[in-house]
Subunit: 278 residues, 2 copies
């Protein structure tokens, strides 16, 4: 009965190929559809899921880079997750998501690399300043149903600052957003959902310019600073997210982001480079 599954778990469902251990088969999810393809975060999550499903997996996710090479069509896809190098405590993965086109040819739509690692307890410290923020209950839920894209409705977001522009009048002055977020349907946090949530911030150029120019992520890299035990403590609680643009220049800008637990632990840092027009 797949009906009982959370939409995120349905979107992440992969079937291991009968012949090749590096190959997994899945399908796009209408629940996480964006304007002209899947939400980039769900693509990153399902590519990471192929790594996590691999029989030779060593350790847990440390870094993930996903490049959005071409639009993904609604329907079936395959992910090849190849452990090209396994060391004593790290494992290096090359990733490709592909679809078969109308002519029966395989087209690569997304590429990536990942590193998984065994961690040992060491001296630990966070140098990034933790953002001060009012509690989630004190922040207005963002209306995530009216944006015309399905994936937004899968998340509960409560803006602290830098909410989605309500006037497209070119009045933007900064590119920083702070928000509380979690799955709209309760689901315990795990590495794939953390990968997806790292891509939750709408394009910084929209906020910076209060102008809805065409924009789309080209490449995202997320570093994971957490482990299964800490994720279990977070459970289905809120994450505090912050993102800001850095350099906007001639069609591309980068944005950096962090995801903190409500208890104040830094779970992931993420960067992406984004295409924009005009």
């Amino acid at each position: 009965m797949t009906d009982a599954l959370h939409p995120f778990d349905r979107a992440l469902a992969l079937e291991a190929d009968a012949q090749y251990p590096d190959l997994f088969h899945g399908a796009t999810s209408a629940d996480y559809w964006n304007m002209v393809g899947p939400f980039g975060g769900i693509t990153a999550a399902v590519m990471l899921q192929a790594v996590l499903r691999h029989p030779q997996l060593l350790g847990s996710p440390l870094s993930l880079t996903v490049n959005f090479a071409a639009a993904i069509e609604a329907g079936a896809f395959s992910i090849e997750a190849t452990p090209v190098r396994t060391n004593r405590s790290t494992q290096h993965w090359m990733l490709q998501l592909s679809q078969t086109d109308a002519n029966g040819e395989r087209q690569v739509t997304s590429t990536g690399t990942a590193v998984t690692a065994l961690r040992r307890e060491t001296w630990s410290n966070v140098d990034l300043q933790h953002p001060s923020a009012p509690a989630p209950a004190e922040c207005e839920p963002m209306n995530t149903s009216g944006k015309g894209v399905a994936w937004v409705g899968q998340y509960e977001m409560r803006a602290i600052s830098g909410a989605f522009p309500t006037k497209w009048d070119g009045s933007g002055e900064h590119s920083r957003t702070q928000l509380w977020l979690r799955d709209a349907g309760q689901r315990p946090l795990d590495f794939p959902s953390l990968a997806a949530m790292s891509d939750i911030f709408y394009p910084r150029v929209w906020l910076r310019r209060a102008t809805p120019v065409p924009a789309g992520t080209v490449s995202i890299t997320t570093y994971f600073h957490t482990d299964a035990e800490q994720l279990a403590e977070v459970g289905d609680g809120y994450l505090l997210g912050e993102a800001r643009g850095q350099a906007f220049r001639n069609g591309y800008f980068d944005q950096s982001a962090e995801l903190w637990s409500e208890a104040g632990e830094l779970l992931a840092t993420s960067n992406q480079i984004v295409y924009y027009k005009q």
Copy 2:
């Protein structure tokens, strides 16, 4: 006569394979040797150079991720740079650097992805605050010859703050370094040298703890915000570099960095995840 070449150009020399257009052959450089292998920056640079040498190249570098999967031995290597997807204005690359081991088997030592792109003039803006710094001439040159590793001597570095610790007494309080840098031997800036310089900052954990624990980059991602025209304006001038650690946890930390021109333009932003012990 290769004697007339800059050490960086000698390190980047690649021979196109006679048979496979995606394959290039090179060799490690003693000039950029680190403790147990090449300086990570030179490896990133030569992997980008394979992209730039490829006959099917579209545009100029936008993003580069390099994963350091295994130690590179002194000697010959091959780089496979495959343009897996070419769009109208972006091109997606998968990268592998490999060496043949003593048993004649091919071993992948480094993996990566890159995106190259055609850029068009658009609204542009830098949201990151430009660091205020005294002029290069007012900053002491760091003694880069006595660190026991060759690559450091290939750069002129002038510390503004966060210089290499002089006392390993556990007294560290922050992880931020600002410095002026350029090639020790004059050489006009280009994309490969920008890729290399993005990795110039010594491990932040050493500064943060004033303790020389074993540490090494696992993965680096650099976003390029510049073009050939701007690079030509920079020429062999100084770059203003800044880097700081973010989260240090159980054996891995991330550090973010920026490289600015002396004229104040943001040329590259870079992030890496680094292994450390203890």
